[in-house]
Each structure stands twice: as structure tokens, then as C-alpha cells.
């Protein structure tokens, strides 16, 4: 035996430790994988040994291998073994490994519950600390449920080191087990005023994290945070609080007004840049929330912008970046104050740092106006040229398009310029954003009717030079543009000068190399062009040109008929047949142009993306109702075969078509309008969408004079610059004319008023180059204005949206007196098992100041208040704080010593003073100590549990719960949570649970899914009371 031990330890001497492993890997650079696999084999051997030190060493090495990307989950059980070692050294290794590789899917996690509970209540604070740290990384809903109570108790631990860890981990527990938020919250709040700054900081951290997701529930904490903000000197805490206020102010503008002053003071006084920056950020948030109400904060805005300018001008790139970031927030509400720093922002576009350039780009978005759009875009185009082949260039491209298209092309005065910018952008090679450019082209061509002629001409050039775009490869995303070009040329082909040429360009063999969806559009629009060509030659007898066109299509289309893409193939063969038929007719000299054109007649209107969703359901239409009666079950399907379809369907469709003629339709429409007009509840269509309906006619489109002095450009030469020049000239001309007019006016009304006309052009002075009619997107009639931004239903924070000020079901409430609202909670004390801790929260409901309060406790036979040393049994206890009027809440804690369980009676007296007069009020109430309060969650292993039951010392009783329809695990969770039990074992339909009273009485429960509870306990009176309380808990829900 002794020999074996010696041999074992000699073997161990040659085991690799972590350093050896690392060294070995570094020495085997060439065959690292092979070396590691032999190491893993060794580790597997080591894990098989009984010696815990060897196992711990192996687990430590595994943690390293995990970092290198090796899956070590196969060793999960061994990790649990190492975690449960009694030595801190090994325990720490085990928990580290677990925190690196355990997750919700790890099945051995459920074995750890009792071990973790044991560690949490360990007398050694570092055992507890290590367990908390580990748990924070792999906590699961089950662990959170089972351990919530233990962790809550640790929040009042004597060591601040444990307190701060326990407070922090509560956030993770809340996320996994939202039910625990309510009972834990009072204690969490109390920790905001913990004497230890670390604990305080942790509590602030957790509450900020909670409040960020559901700010409205935490508004009532604002005064407390305000106090902290003005008193704390810990910058870390200050930053968190100030960030939190930034989230709260949008909900409560009054808070914002209060904040401005202290924040401004901080901005002026602090030397810490991080604090300064967060202050500025929150002031901005405040200003945004106030901006609707009071415009009187220009000083604060100026201060912010000024400070930000200093940041942006700083040589430190980090400050520059953050300055720009914050600037973009101001921009949304106070664009004017940012616009004056345009020079600075344009300067940042030249910065060598990409992050900064991107931020500056974001800012530009909000800084454009009708006046400077062209100029800014020109500058950006220059950058585009410089930024060849980077993602930054793609970013530039999207930004240019964003800037131009924002709020319905609001700032574009000259659409010809915009189209030529888009055409220029198509020359960027290798961009991913071809579809973006394409959709802009489509958008502009469809919605700006006046531009169609110009757009079509440009698109025809693009199609003609398609080889430039598709140039090297198909991967090139830019060929998407051809999709738009083909469609525009086809749809608005009446504007084409030479449709024949475009048609030819669209049917080149090279087209077959384009992606399928683009080819499909080509084919379809070739047909449209064909129709246009035919119409052009309409009337000419024996038109040679028309027949040539047909022949061209017949020659070229077969290429597409062979396409592997179904869509292309289908369209091509369809159109090919059509053309062949037309050719036949042409040869017979039949007029076909009109009929072919009719195929593509009608105008397409843009439809808003949400239009379909917003079509209201007409009155009386029940979408869920059967249209036809469902076939009865008895009627088998074979009985009446095909007859149903063969006979009935044509009849239906025929009759519908014949009976609804134009007149009838018009009449019905009239009737409906009348009805709608008389119906007060009918929501009328907005005027903008009405407009689209009323004026679809072509007469309303203003005719645009295309300036022919600008020749259409050959691709390869930028031409948008010329527009810029032209625009400038045009504006000057206009200005000059205006001046002339003004002078005339002045001459007429001399001496009346003097205007300074040397000032800069104001925004309104710039008139668009041509009156463009921007068609708004169509929405269905009477669509309801609503935005339905669906929140992510999987967001874990949703479950934490709990109104914490409302009724707290877990704690017991006391009298709802008009002066004071009291909530209390009783918990067993882990440190001293003869005591229970009572946490009390007072809420001042009156509108006067509560100056002092005193407890007078009448000790009962069974329980005694723990008084300070030297105080008599009848001395009162003063509550060490004052309560301001209003909603403020505070928590207080006192310890009562207990001998036997059941009920303790206490009487309280409060001294209340309002501002001028002081009043005394004496309020009597009872604290009800349920026997559950005396139970302490204690882990129990199943074998010990079995022994306990076999011993025969326990007396049994049972209980049936009626009308419970919650999932079984919820039921268990409730019993665990409210009554401090722990689950010993769960087998399918039943679970055994255990708890222990502070006097050491055992309580065992067997809970079945049929919701019957069998209980056993060595103290019959305790047993009866526990069962009564469980019954009460479930009768409430």
C-alpha cells in the first residue's frame, strides 16, 4: 500500500504541469496539433486517477487548451469533481474551468447546485467569492431559482468583499429568474447606501443595468440617485449614475430641469475627461427631452457644443472620436448649433483614422441643406476616388446616397445632378452596394416624373456601355445597376430617342452572362421596347423597321430560352412566341402596334412598404369565417370527384366579370363614398395619399426643359461637377434677378424700408432648378397612422419589466395607513442561527417631512428584539434616518432573537413633524412571523434524505392543492422561493424537497404533479404551520 503511494507520487513528479504544457507546445511549433493530442491523452489518463491534485492539474491544463480552441466539454464531470474539492487551490481551478466552458446546455451543471450552495455558505470568504465568480459565468435558470435565496442572504454578509460580489451577481440571477427581482429589490436598493464604496458601486452598477432596459420602473429612485450624484466622489459611480439619468430624463422632463444645474457645475469643475464627457452626454439627453417644452436653454447647448469642439480639436484621437459621437446627438434636435462647426467636421473627413472619418460622415448627414448639398457631395466624391478598394469607400457610397435621399429627397434641387451622381457611382469597381444605387435610380425615376426623360437617356447610355460595368467579373456587385437601367428604359420607353438602339443593346449575347434576375428584367423590358418601336412605326404601311425589330427579337431570344434560370427561360419563351405571332400578323399587314402596347399600358405607382399591412379590414368582413361551408365529415372525398371544379369554377368567374360593369362600379363607389362621408367614425384618408388618387393624369406633370447645352456624357468622365457649376451660375443669375426686382421695388417704395441684401442667401431663397413633382408613396385609403416597431420577443430583459413600486407579493405588507406604507420581509440568519433578520421598508405617503421614527417593540414570550448593548427591555429603538415627503422610500433592518416559532407581536410608534407644526402619531401594528421565516434553505443529499425518512422519527401529514394549473417546475420554484426549501431529487412526476428550521427540525416534502404534498417533520406543530402557509401561497395565485 505504502509502496503504491510512493509510486503514485513519483509518477506524479513527471506529470506535466501547466508550464510544462505551454513550454511543450512552444517547442513543437511544427506539429502542434499532434503534440496537443498526445497531451490530451495524458490528461485523460490523469483524470482517471483518484488523486485530486492530479485531477486539478489536468483540469488546469484543459483550461489552457480551451483557450486554444479545443472543446473540453467532455471533461465537465471531472471539472465538477475538482470544484467540490475542499482545498481552495483546487476549488479555484475547478471553478475557473467551469466558468470558461460551462453553459446552459452543459448537463452536469445540475449536479453542482448543492456544492455551490455549500460553498456560498462556507466560513471562508474566498470559497464563497470563487463560487460567486464562477456562478456569474454559468448561472442557469435552474441554478438561479435554487440559489436566489442564498445569494440574497449574502447581500447582507459582514464582509464587503462578499457583499459586492453578491450584489453584482444578482443581475445575472434576475436575468435568468425574473421572479426574484421583486423580493430582492428592497435589499438591492438598501445597498445603494452601503458604507463600503465597492458595494455601493456594485449596487449602482446593477440598478443602472436594470434601469437601462426598463427605465420607467426606476423613476422613483431618481431622488436617491440625485443625492448620490451630488455627494459621491467616486468617478466610476458618478459616470454610471449620470448615464442612468440620461436614460431616465426622456421619461420625466422635470428631472431634466433639476439636473441641468449640477451637471453644468460638474462640467465646469471636473478634470476627468470621462466624467466631463458623460456629463455633456446627459445634458444633451436632457436638452433633447426638454426641446419641445422650453427653448430657453441655449446657454447649455452652447456650453456643450463648445466643450465638444474642444474635444474634437484635441490631439487625442479618442477624445476627437467621442466629441464627434456626442455632436451627432445634438444634431438631431439642434442642427443649427452644430452646423456652425461645419469646417471642423469637414476637416475630420481628412483624418487618417477611419473611425473618426466614419463619425464625421454621420454628422454630415444632418448638416446638409439645399444650399450646401452639392458642395458636400462633391467633396465626398473626391474622397470616394481616393479611397479605392476599402470598406470605407462602401461606407462613403452609402452615406452619399443617404444624404441625398433623406426625408424624401428634401435637399435635392436638381435631380439631373443626382442622376448623374448615381451614374458616376456606378463606376466604382468592386462595391457591394450595386443594389442600393439601383434602387435609388428606380426610386427617382418613378417618383420624380419630370426627370424621366433625362433618366431614360442616361440609363440607355449605361446599357449601351454595359461592358464597362460588368467588366472583369460577375462578382462585381455593380451590375445590379443594369437591373434598374433596363427596367427604366423599358417602362418609360416613350422618352427614348432611339429605342431600337437600346433594344439592340439589351439583346447582346453578352447579356447572358449577367445574373438570372437581371436577365429576366432584360427580357421583359425588351418586350416593352418592342412595343414602343412598333408604335413608333405605326401607320407606316409595310414598315420595314417594325419587321426588322421582330426579326431581331426572334433571332436573339432563343439564347435566353436556353437559359438555365427558370424565370428567364419562361419569360423568353413566352415573349418569343408572342413575337412570332406578331410577325405573322405583320406579314399579313395587320395593324398590331396598338394591341401590343396595350400589353404594357397603365402607370405604376410607388407603394409604401407598409401599405399592405395597413389596409383596414372592411366593416362586416370576418377573415376567419368560412367562405364556403366546410365539407361535412361524413362526405368522403371520393364521392363527388372532379365535378366541383369542372362545373362551378368557370361559372363563378364568368358571372363576376359580366355583372360588374363600369357603371355599376362607379355607382357603388359613389354609394360607398356617401356612406363614408356620413359615418363619423370613418377615418378619412390623409390628403397626401388622396392626391395620388386624384391626380394620376399626365396633364399635371410639369414639362421640363432639358438643358441641351449639357451634352450627354460618355461614361468615364465625371459630369456632376458641371451641374455644380451650372447650379452656382443659375443661383447667381436668380439672385441677380431678384436683386433687380428688389431694386425696382425699392425704387418704387423708396424710403419705406431698407433691407440688407448683402447677407448670405437664406434657405428659402433657393428655388429648385425645375419644379419636380415628387410623388409620394401610396398608402391604402384610410390607413391608420401607427408605427408598429415590434420589440424582440426573445429579449431577456423583457421579463424584467416589473413595476417595482407596485404591490410586492412576496414580502408582507402592513397597514396601508395614509401616512406610512410599510413592507417587511423576514429571513433566517445564516451567521447566527438563533436569529432572524427583519428587513423593513418605509414609504412616506404624506406630504410632510417625517423627522423621526421610533420603534417600541413589546417582546413576546418567543421573540425578542435585539437591542443595543445596555438598553433595557422596554427602551425604544430610533430609526436612524429621516424621510422627506412624497414618494421616497427607505429600508431598515433589525434583528430579533427567537426562541420558539410562531407569532411575535410588536407595537410601533412614530413621531411625525410637518414643517410648522409637529404632530405625533402612534401606529400600532403586528409583525407576523410565519414559520417559513424560520426555515433555512439547506442542501441535502439524497442518501442522507433517504436515511432521514427511514429513521422513523418523522411524523407525516399531507395536503392537496386544488385548482393549480401552473407548470410543475414553477410550482417547485415557488415552494423553493417562498418557503426556503431545496429540491433533493426530482423524478418525473414527483419531487422530494427538504428544509431545516433554525432549531434544527427537519422538514421533508414529497410533491407530486397531481399537486398533492406529503410532508414529514419531527415537530408536528411546525409541520402543520408549514403546510398551512404553502396552501396560503397557492391560494393567492
Amino acid at each position: 500500500m505504502a509502496l503504491k503511494i510512493v509510486k503514485g507520487s513519483i509518477d506524479r513528479m513527471f506529470d506535466k504541469n501547466l508550464q510544462d504544457l505551454v513550454r511543450g507546445i512552444r517547442n513543437h511549433k511544427d506539429d502542434e496539433a499532434k503534440y496537443i493530442s498526445t497531451c490530451i491523452d495524458e490528461i485523460k489518463q490523469e483524470l482517471k486517477q483518484d488523486n485530486i491534485a492530479v485531477k486539478a492539474n489536468a483540469v488546469c491544463k484543459l483550461t489552457y487548451l480551451q483557450m486554444l480552441g479545443y472543446d473540453v466539454s467532455w471533461a465537465a464531470f471531472n471539472i465538477v469533481e475538482v470544484m467540490s474539492s475542499s482545498k481552495f487551490t483546487y476549488k479555484r481551478i475547478g471553478y475557473l474551468a467551469a466558468s470558461q466552458c460551462f453553459h446552459e446546455g452543459t448537463d452536469v451543471i445540475m449536479l453542482t447546485t448543492n456544492q455551490i450552495r455549500k460553498d456560498l455558505s462556507s466560513p471562508n470568504q474566498y470559497d464563497t467569492g470563487v463560487a460567486l465568480t464562477g456562478l456569474s459565468c454559468f448561472v442557469t435558470p435552474d441554478l438561479a431559482r435554487d440559489l436566489a435565496n442564498d445569494i440574497m442572504t449574502l447581500m447582507s454578509h459582514t464582509k464587503p468583499y462578499i457583499r459586492k460580489k453578491a450584489v453584482l451577481i444578482m443581475y445575472k440571477v434576475f436575468l435568468k429568474y425574473p421572479e426574484s427581482l421583486r423580493p430582492a429589490f428592497p435589499r438591492l436598493k438598501e445597498k445603494l447606501e452601503d458604507p463600503d464604496p465597492g458595494v455601493q458601486s456594485a449596487a449602482v452598477n446593477v440598478i443602472c443595468e436594470l434601469a437601462r432596459r426598463n427605465p420607467k420602473n426606476y423613476l422613483s429612485l431618481a431622488p436617491l440617485f440625485f443625492k448620490l450624484m451630488t455627494s459621491s466622489t467616486n468617478n466610476w459611480v458618478l459616470i454610471k449614475i449620470i448615464k442612468l439619468f440620461g436614460a431616465l430624463t426622456p421619461l420625466e422632463p422635470r428631472l431634466g430641469k433639476k439636473l441641468i444645474e449640477p451637471l453644468t457645475n460638474l462640467i465646469h469643475s471636473t478634470s476627468a475627461m470621462s466624467l466631463l464627457y458623460e456629463c455633456v452626454n446627459t445634458v444633451i439627453a436632457v436638452l433633447i427631452s426638454l426641446s419641445s417644452g422650453m427653448p430657453n436653454h441655449s446657454a447649455s447647448i452652447q456650453l456643450c457644443v463648445q466643450k465638444l469642439r474642444i474635444l474634437i480639436e484635441d490631439s487625442d484621437q479618442n477624445l476627437k472620436y467621442l466629441g464627434l459621437l456626442a455632436m451627432s446627438k445634438i444634431l438631431k434636435t439642434h442642427p443649427k448649433s452644430v452646423q456652425s462647426h461645419k469646417d471642423l467636421i469637414l476637416q475630420c473627413l481628412d483624418d487618417k483614422d477611419e473611425s473618426i472619418r466614419l463619425r464625421a460622415l454621420d454628422l454630415l448627414y444632418g448638416m446638409v441643406s439645399k444650399k450646401n448639398l452639392m458642395e458636400i457631395v462633391k467633396k465626398l466624391m473626391l474622397h470616394v476616388d481616393k479611397a479605392e478598394g476599402t470598406t470605407y469607400r462602401d461606407e462613403l457610397l452609402t452615406k452619399i446616397i443617404d444624404i441625398c435621399s433623406q426625408s424624401n429627397f428634401q435637399y435635392i434641387t436638381n435631380f439631373e445632378w443626382y442622376i448623374s451622381i448615381l451614374v458616376e457611382l456606378t463606376r466604382l469597381e468592386g462595391t457591394r452596394h450595386g443594389h442600393l444605387i439601383a434602387s435609388q435610380m428606380l426610386d427617382v425615376a418613378i417618383r420624380v416624373k419630370a426627370i424621366r426623360g433625362f433618366a431614360v437617356a442616361q440609363m440607355a447610355t449605361l446599357l449601351d456601355n454595359a461592358h464597362l460595368l460588368t467588366g472583369n467579373t460577375q462578382r462585381n456587385g455593380i451590375c445590379e445597376v443594369l437591373y434598374a437601367a433596363a427596367w427604366i428604359c423599358g417602362e418609360f420607353s416613350e422618352h427614348l430617342e432611339d429605342p431600337m438602339q437600346t433594344l439592340e443593346a439589351m439583346l447582346r449575347p453578352k447579356v447572358a452572362t449577367l445574373p438570372g434576375h437581371i436577365q429576366a428584367v432584360y427580357v421583359q423590358n425588351a418586350a416593352k421596347l418592342f412595343a414602343t418601336v412598333l408604335r413608333k412605326h405605326d401607320g407606316e404601311t409595310e414598315s420595314q423597321a417594325a419587321q426588322e425589330t421582330s426579326q431581331l427579337l426572334i433571332d436573339r431570344l432563343p439564347l435566353f430560352v436556353q437559359s438555365a434560370n427558370l424565370e428567364v427561360q419562361e419569360r423568353a419563351s413566352c415573349i418569343l412566341q408572342l413575337v412570332k405571332y406578331i410577325q405573322k400578323l405583320q406579314q399579313k399587314n395587320v395593324e398590331v402596334a396598338e394591341e401590343v402596347t396595350a400589353l404594357f399600358a397603365g402607370e405604376l405607382n410607388p407603394v409604401a412598404p407598409k401599405a399592405q399591412k395597413k389596409v383596414p379590414i372592411p366593416e362586416g368582413l370576418d377573415l376567419d369565417a368560412w367562405i364556403n361551408e366546410p365539407p361535412s365529415e361524413s362526405e368522403s372525398e371520393d364521392e363527388k370527384p372532379k365535378a366541383v371544379f369542372a362545373k362551378e369554377e368557370p361559372k363563378h368567374s364568368r358571372s363576376r366579370h359580366t355583372e360588374v360593369d363600369e357603371k355599376e362600379l362607379a355607382r357603388r363607389r359613389e354609394v360607398r363614398k356617401q356612406e363614408q362621408a356620413n359615418n363619423p367614425f370613418y377615418i378619412k384618408a390623409s390628403p397626401s395619399s388622396q392626391k395620388v388618387y386624384d391626380a394620376p393624369g399626365v396633364e399635371h406633370i410639369p414639362v421640363v426643359q432639358i438643358d441641351l447645352s449639357v451634352p450627354l456624357k460618355v461614361p468615364g468622365m465625371p459630369m456632376s461637377d458641371q451641374y455644380l457649376k451650372l447650379e452656382v451660375e443659375r443661383r447667381q443669375k436668380e439672385k441677380a434677378e431678384r436683386k433687380k426686382k428688389e431694386k425696382k421695388k425699392k425704387r418704387e417704395k423708396r424710403g419705406k424700408e431698407r433691407k440688407a441684401d448683402s447677407g448670405p442667401e437664406s434657405e428659402e431663397d433657393i428655388t429648385p432648378a425645375h419644379q419636380v413633382d415628387i410623388v409620394t408613396e401610396e398608402m391604402p385609403e384610410n390607413a391608420l397612422p401607427s408605427d408598429d416597431d415590434d420589440k424582440d420577443p426573445n429579449d431577456p430583459h423583457k421579463a424584467l419589466d416589473i413595476d417595482l413600486d407596485k404591490y410586492v407579493p412576496y414580502c408582507r405588507h402592513l397597514q396601508f395607513i395614509h401616512v406610512l406604507h410599510i413592507v417587511y420581509d423576514i429571513q433566517g440568519n445564516h451567521q447566527d442561527e438563533s436569529k432572524v433578520v427583519v428587513s423593513v421598508i418605509f414609504e412616506n405617503k404624506s406630504d410632510s417631512f417625517l423627522k423621526s421614527m421610533e420603534f417600541n417593540v413589546l417582546d413576546s414570550l418567543n421573540s425578542k428584539l435585539q437591542r443595543p448593548e445596555g438598553a433595557g427591555a422596554h427602551d425604544s429603538l430610533t430609526v436612524p434616518f429621516q424621510l422627506p415627503p412624497g414618494q421616497d422610500t427607505h429600508a431598515f433592518l433589525f434583528v430579533s432573537s427567537v426562541s420558539v416559532s410562531i407569532v411575535a407581536v410588536c407595537i410601533d410608534c412614530f413621531l411625525m413633524q410637518s414643517d410648522e407644526s409637529s404632530t405625533h402619531e402612534k401606529l400600532d401594528f403586528k409583525l407576523h412571523f410565519t414559520c417559513t421565516s424560520y426555515l433555512i434553505t439547506t442542501p441535502c443529499y439524497s442518501d442522507a434524505y433517504a436515511k432521514l425518512l427511514e429513521s422513523g422519527d418523522l411524523k407525516g401529514s399531507s395536503l392537496r392543492l386544488e385548482g393549480i394549473n401552473m407548470p410543475f417546475h414553477h410550482l417547485l420554484a415557488r415552494i423553493c422561493f417562498h418557503h426556503h426549501f431545496s429540491v433533493v431529487e426530482r423524478i418525473d412526476s414527483c419531487a422530494s424537497m427538504y428544509s431545516r428550521s433554525i432549531q434544527g427540525h427537519h422538514v421533508c416534502l414529497l410533491v407530486k404533479t397531481t399537486v398533492s404534498i406529503d410532508a414529514k417533520c419531527d415537530e408536528p406543530s411546525l409541520l402543520g404551520n408549514v403546510l398551512d402557509e404553502i396552501k396560503q401561497t397557492f391560494s393567492k395565485c
Binding site: 513528479m13 465568480t133 443602472c208 479618442n318 483614422d353 473618426i356
Partner: protein, 192 residues
Amino acid sequence: MIKAILIFNNHGKPRLIRFYQYFAEDMQQQIIRETFHLVSKRDDNVCNFLEGGSLIGGSDYKLIYRHYATLYFVFCVDSSESELGILDLIQVFVETLDKCFENVCELDLIFHMDKVHYILQEVVMGGMVLETNMNEIVAQVELQNRMEKSEGGLSTAPARAVSAVKNMNLPEIPRNINIGDINIKVPSLSPF
């Protein structure tokens, strides 16, 4: 919240990884590679914030990093964290390492990954900042190390002797990869 902390060297070799959200091992490696790719191509005199990184996070997340000689320290955080605050935290962490290892260099991190983890655990817990006071962190780490020592540590004395023997015939270990000037000027919070 901090979503991940990554330490890797100038060649992208991980020295410590700590994810506060579960990712499978291969995904973790991908994230390291992507992050390294993003961070390593940046000059030393550009800002320390980085948006993007498609694998981890999303629009709400930022990479905040610092580059010391041969090592990158990268924190992936969401918008609830103060950017400059996290930069300072990295500095605090590195200074703590410097104190605990006495003139820390990359080799310390390579051979004592576990110890670095234990130090980090005193700074950040479960993705939330636990302690920012360096003295407090160092004190707690030392107390725990003392406890480990009193238990005899993981490798007992004979094993250490063996390890010395094992060391002898190894090629020379480069010892000159000092992290260098650690007190890089930070626009910082006044001491916590």
C-alpha cells in the same frame, strides 16, 4: 456590460480569453481572428474605439482596446459602459498585472494564464465591473495566493525540483519581451 475580454499578441495568438456570453470554441476562435484582424491593421496613433465586428455584438457594441508593446488588450462592451472609463479600466488591469508579476511581460501571461484569470476575476465579474481600485484588487489577489501557498499550492516541492530539471535542456527562452512603458498617457479619471 462587458461581453468579452481578449488578450492576444501581435501575431494574433490568444493569451487570455474571457467570454461573458456563451460561444462554442470554434466561434470563439473566429471572434479572436476577426478581432485581431480589425485591431491589428490600425495604427498606434488612431483612436482606441472600434465599431463593427460582425461576429460579436451588433450595433450596440464597441471594441475598446489598448496596445502595449507585444500585446493587445481588447474589451467588447455595450453602450452602458463609458468608453473612457473602460480605457482606464484596461490601464488599471495592466498596472495590476504589473504589480502582481513584478514587471510583467508577455511570458508571464503565457505561462501563468490561470493567475491572470484570477486577477481579472477581481476586476470584472460576470461582465460587470467589480472593482476599480488597484490597491484593493492587489490585496485580494495576494490574500488568495497566500491561502494557496498555505495549502501547499498545486505543485509541491519535489515537483518543482523536477520542473527545474525538466527546464535544463530546453532552448533558451526569450526574456526580453518586456511590455515596456506602461504609463502611457491617458486622458483619465482621477484616481478611483
